[in-house]
């Protein structure tokens, strides 16, 4: 029931907001924030209830949806999915609070859509039936489309269309794979799937997740969508929604397709490595704040895919840790970018600069998040990247070299961003009276930052509490669970 509550609460909250006609802007935002906080509270309850020692599917619920093809409403939590659900809940709170502070127009529609998005995303992270997974996976598109299309920037129309067409193309291929896999197994229940050695089915799933993540070269939609969306939607999109691809690979692709994964490993690793370096270079050349964050996000997703397709303890732990950390970093960066844009009216690096002077809190937050993003030693991101590189090293030192190069490049683009926004002479768009971060912004970004710092001190909080912690190894436990 708890898992269902985690899905239903935000969606019910969304409908409540849409149906209450008398809600003022402030009341609508407040109600949405309350619901988002309640969701976070529910997640804490789930954290208490889950048994990390035993692993396996927990807090599961199952109801028949339609018996004809063996499709059911089945949801439940694994220890690793719990962390992704927590990321969703936390970033949703931040996004709703930021949207409230920013005073978006048509607040009832706006906050309702944000909550609906959160509910659908939690649904993806908990679904244990292939078709249900697909339904939630597609349901995420609807609020995203409207959020970007109505509240987005000037070129939002092209951005939304590109985003939807790319994603639909990937997920419909996944639908065919789901059909093939489900009919072959006589059930769509993920916990009862036999392994498959069919490469085409594997590729169908991979297509959906490669577009969603995105993995190079399926990232055509990314720069436009991240640039045109409202900053808190970009935060959700890059921080949380992209992680559904990670979850899909962890939950479906790796356990179900051991042989195709081994056969295609080199290809995926090569794409990830090339994408990693390429995206890092693009981030270094990007002319605006959001461009840098968008391409760095692409680079990090490629890095996570390196860890996933290493398919060993170290790689998987690193990929999960980095997923959570990147979710928080990316969300914080987009919210800070939003803060900068609100003060200057632009995100172009050429028109920014010198914002540190007289704005110490903005500078401190920006630099702290930036330093974590470039994976400085002892940061949580460093722990994740180290584990990934360690994991991928066994498949050839070349992959690790590509990863290491990218870490150097990450330092270059983050420092370029920090310097272009905060240092140098004040840019033409930076008014002298632009304020430092306001208390609301400090609270929102500060909360994300606090979690990041906590994870930096104790990354084992996640890595030791995922994949059952079994000595036999995470991969085996994952594969056995898939049966």
């Amino acid at each position: 029931m708890l898992t269902t509550a985690l899905i239903v609460l935000p969606i019910a909250g969304a409908f409540l907001l849409w149906l209450l006609p008398w809600a003022t802007a402030r009341a609508a935002g407040g109600l949405a924030l309350l619901i988002a906080l309640a969701e976070l509270f529910l997640w804490v309850v789930a954290l208490q209830r889950i048994d990390f020692a035993s692993g396996g599917l927990q807090l599961a619920t199952e109801t028949v949806w339609f018996a004809d093809l063996g499709v059911s409403y089945k949801v439940g939590l694994y220890d690793f999915s719990l962390w992704l659900v927590g990321l969703t809940a936390l970033v949703t709170v931040a996004a709703v609070a930021y949207g409230m502070w920013a005073g978006r127009e048509r607040p009832r529609a706006y906050f309702g859509l944000l909550l609906f998005l959160a509910g659908a995303t939690v649904g993806v992270f908990t679904a244990q039936d292939l078709l249900l997974f697909y339904v939630f996976f597609e349901a995420m598109l609807i609020p995203l489309y409207v959020l970007i299309g109505v509240w987005g920037g000037v070129r939002r129309t092209a951005a939304t269309l590109k985003f939807i067409v790319y994603t639909m193309a990937g997920s419909l291929l996944m639908l065919v794979s789901i059909i093939a896999l489900g009919l072959a197994n006589d059930t769509f229940d993920m916990t009862r799937l036999a392994t498959s050695d069919n490469q085409w089915i594997f590729l169908g799933f991979l297509a959906a997740f490669a577009v969603k993540a995105p993995l190079f070269p399926f990232h055509g939609w990314l720069p436009d969508a991240y640039r045109e969306a409202p900053s808190e939607v970009s935060a959700l999109l890059s921080g949380v929604i992209s992680k559904t691809a990670v979850y899909g690979v962890l939950r479906i692709v790796l356990p179900t397709f051991p042989e195709p994964v081994a056969d295609w490993r080199t290809v995926v690793l090569a794409l990830a490595a090339v994408g990693l370096v390429y995206a890092s270079l693009l981030a270094f050349r990007a002319p605006d704040v959001r461009g840098v964050i968008a391409y760095s996000s692409l680079a990090q997703m490629c890095l996570i895919f390196l860890g996933l397709f290493a398919v060993n303890d170290s790689g998987l732990s690193g990929a999960l840790l980095l997923s959570v950390v990147h979710g928080l970093v990316s969300a914080s960066l987009f919210l800070l970018a939003g803060a900068v844009e609100r003060r200057t009216g632009t995100g172009e690096l050429g028109r920014l600069g010198g914002m540190a002077r007289g704005r110490p809190i903005l500078a401190t937050f920006f630099i702290t998040v930036g330093v974590i993003a470039l994976a400085v030693p002892f940061s949580a991101a460093f722990a994740g990247e180290f584990l990934i590189l360690n994991g991928v090293f066994v498949h050839g030192w070349g992959w690790a070299v590509a990863g290491a190069v990218a870490i150097v490049l990450a330092a270059m683009y983050v420092l370029r961003l920090v310097s272009a926004v905060l240092h140098q002479d004040p840019g033409p768009s930076v008014p002298a009276h632009a304020l430092d971060l306001r208390p609301a912004e400090i609270g929102i970004v500060g909360a994300l930052l606090a979690v990041l710092l906590a994870l930096s001190f104790w990354p084992a909080g996640i890595t030791d509490h995922a994949f059952g912690g079994e000595p036999a190894g995470k991969v085996t436990s994952l594969v056995e669970r898939g049966r």
Binding site: V64, W65, F66, A67, D68, L69, R106, L131, V135, F136, E138, A139, L141, I142, Y145, V146, G149, V150, R156, T157, T160, L161, I164, V165, M168, A169, L172, L173, L175, V176, I179, A180, G182, L183
Partner: protein, 505 residues
């Protein structure tokens, strides 16, 4: 000389058609006697009640009929497939009545009459024809011989030809009616010629006996006849390349008529197609499955590509209906029991989405007083939140996003193709779905992302309430969303309905 024997007639099994035709007569005859102002409520009430009664009758028959039986010397069949289709037709008709109610209303109090009726004229005729069309369809889906098939087809087609042209003040309506009449008659003629060839080859009219006799038949005649039958039915399904009439007729006909036509004709024609092919031509299965798969692919390609470049919303929806004919033919082409279930399930949500989306178009048309285009939809979503949101849900549903049962319909259709071993057909459906995304989203973009385009506030403030239309939209929403959530009972119904057919696979 043999004495004429009166056949035993199972009146109960004919009750849906009889109820509808009786009501049609009542509306026509009593309507003349009533004062003009009372004709509209009278006609609509009788039509709605008759459609409900016929639907219930079909539902009762459905619950009684475990096994199929034939009527009137094997010329009609009484089985759950027919009764399922009858319920759907009656449901679509009921929603269409709601959409029709205020169709005559002149939007801004201008003199220029438009719409299908004005001042109560032709109102009685309108509802009579609507009931006759529905009655024809309920008869058509029971057809078990080539004669009754043709009879039913002409019965509802002629009613629809007149309904299309009933907006006599609009040139486009008359033009559409004429076009529909000519092209439709052409289709009927092909169907009739095909029937003649099949009869010539086998000496039989009844579907089951055609199959028995087909072994000794002249294969050339038989196959030519089969091909012509498929073509004739494809005209009614509006599958490409036999869809030429669809865009003009859908655009020109009064919008409530389009709503009914889009939903009910497809249901009736597809159900009869499945019955005819499975019962009468099991031996030729290798031929017709491939033929239908090819027609499906052409429809998917043509419908979607043409819809992409439309500016008129009704015309776009017409091409979307062509593309959905393609989706609907995928499970038929599979020729399996799974495909049968897929078809029926798909039809339920598709009919709801069709009627619902045309209803919203009708509402916008009435407040603008002109054809609805993407440009003049601007701001509609924020001005009329309920209708705008419903339209958005319908459009997302057509794509196959989880706002309607069409998602499961596509899932089932692709599953049927895959199970048949035709993954390529499922992939064709995938490509078509991706192609369809821009034009469906174009409606949402126009309604919500663009500023208002209404040139002037209609005289007298906001448009009057139109509760019959709103009720129809609510009904369409309930069916489309409900079919996603409570899928299990609906799929059970579909399974029971297709059990009366013996699929060759």
């Amino acid at each position: 000389m043999t004495e004429f024997q009166k056949p035993d007639i199972d009146w109960a099994a004919l009750s849906p058609s009889l109820v509808l035709m009786a009501a049609a007569a009542v509306v026509l005859v009593v309507g003349v006697l009533l004062p003009r102002g009372a004709r509209r409520p009278f006609g609509a009430t009788v039509a709605a009640l008759a459609l409900i009664a016929a639907g219930i009758a079909a539902g009762v028959l459905f619950s009684m009929d475990d096994t199929a039986s034939t009527l009137v010397r094997d010329s009609l069949v009484r089985d759950r497939l027919a009764e399922f289709a009858q319920m759907l037709v009656c449901g679509a008709g009921l929603l269409a009545v709601g959409v029709s109610y205020w169709e005559s209303r002149s939007p801004r109090g201008e003199d220029a009459p438009r719409g299908l009726t004005d001042d109560g004229e032709r109102v009685s005729e309108y509802y009579t024809l609507l009931l006759a069309a529905a009655g024809g369809m309920t008869f058509f889906v029971q057809a078990d011989t080539l004669m009754t098939l043709f009879l039913g087809l002409e019965w509802f087609s002629i009613a629809l030809y007149v309904l299309t042209a009933i907006g006599v003040h609009r040139l486009s309506s008359l033009e559409a009616g004429l076009k529909y009449l000519i092209v439709g008659s052409f289709g009927s003629a092909i169907l009739l010629f095909g029937s003649a060839l099949v009869y010539g080859a086998t000496g039989e009219l009844e579907f089951g006996r055609i199959a028995e006799a087909s072994g000794d038949a002249d294969q050339l005649f038989l196959v030519a006849g089969l091909a012509m039958l498929i073509v004739g039915l494809a005209f009614k399904i509006s599958a490409a390349p036999f869809h030429m009439w669809t865009p003009d007729v859908y655009q020109g006909a009064p919008t409530p008529v389009t709503a009914f036509m889009a939903a009910a004709t497809k249901v009736a024609a597809l159900v009869v197609t499945v019955r005819l092919l499975v019962v009468a031509f099991p031996e030729q299965q290798d031929l017709w499955t491939v033929a239908l798969a090819v027609i499906a692919c052409i429809s998917l390609a043509w419908g979607n590509l043409a819809a992409l470049v439309q500016t008129n919303v009704k015309r776009m929806l017409a091409y979307s209906s062509v593309s959905h004919a393609g989706f609907l033919l995928i499970p038929v082409a599979a020729g399996t029991a799974l495909g049968g279930r897929a078809l029926l399930y798909y039809l339920v949500s598709y009919a709801a989405l069709s009627v619902g989306s045309f209803a919203v178009v009708a509402a916008r048309e009435r407040e603008l007083g002109e054809d609805v285009t993407f440009a003049n939809l601007g701001g509609f979503g924020w001005e009329r939140p309920f209708l705008g949101l419903s339209m958005a849900l319908f459009m997302l549903g057509f794509i196959g996003l989880p706002t309607s049962g069409l998602l499961l319909g596509k899932f089932y259709a692709f599953a049927a193709a895959y199970e048949r071993g035709w993954t390529w057909l499922a992939l064709a459906g995938v490509v078509a779905t991706v192609l369809s995304v821009p034009y469906y989203l174009g409606v949402i973009r126009a309604m919500f992302f663009s500023p208002a385009q209404l040139r002037a506030v209609p005289a007298g403030g906001s448009p009057p309430r139109d509760w019959p239309l709103t009720a129809a939209v609510v009904g369409a929403l309930v069916v489309s969303i409900g079919s996603l959530i409570v899928a299990d009972p609906l799929i059970d119904l579909a399974r029971n309905a297709v059990e009366s057919l013996q699929f060759p696979h």
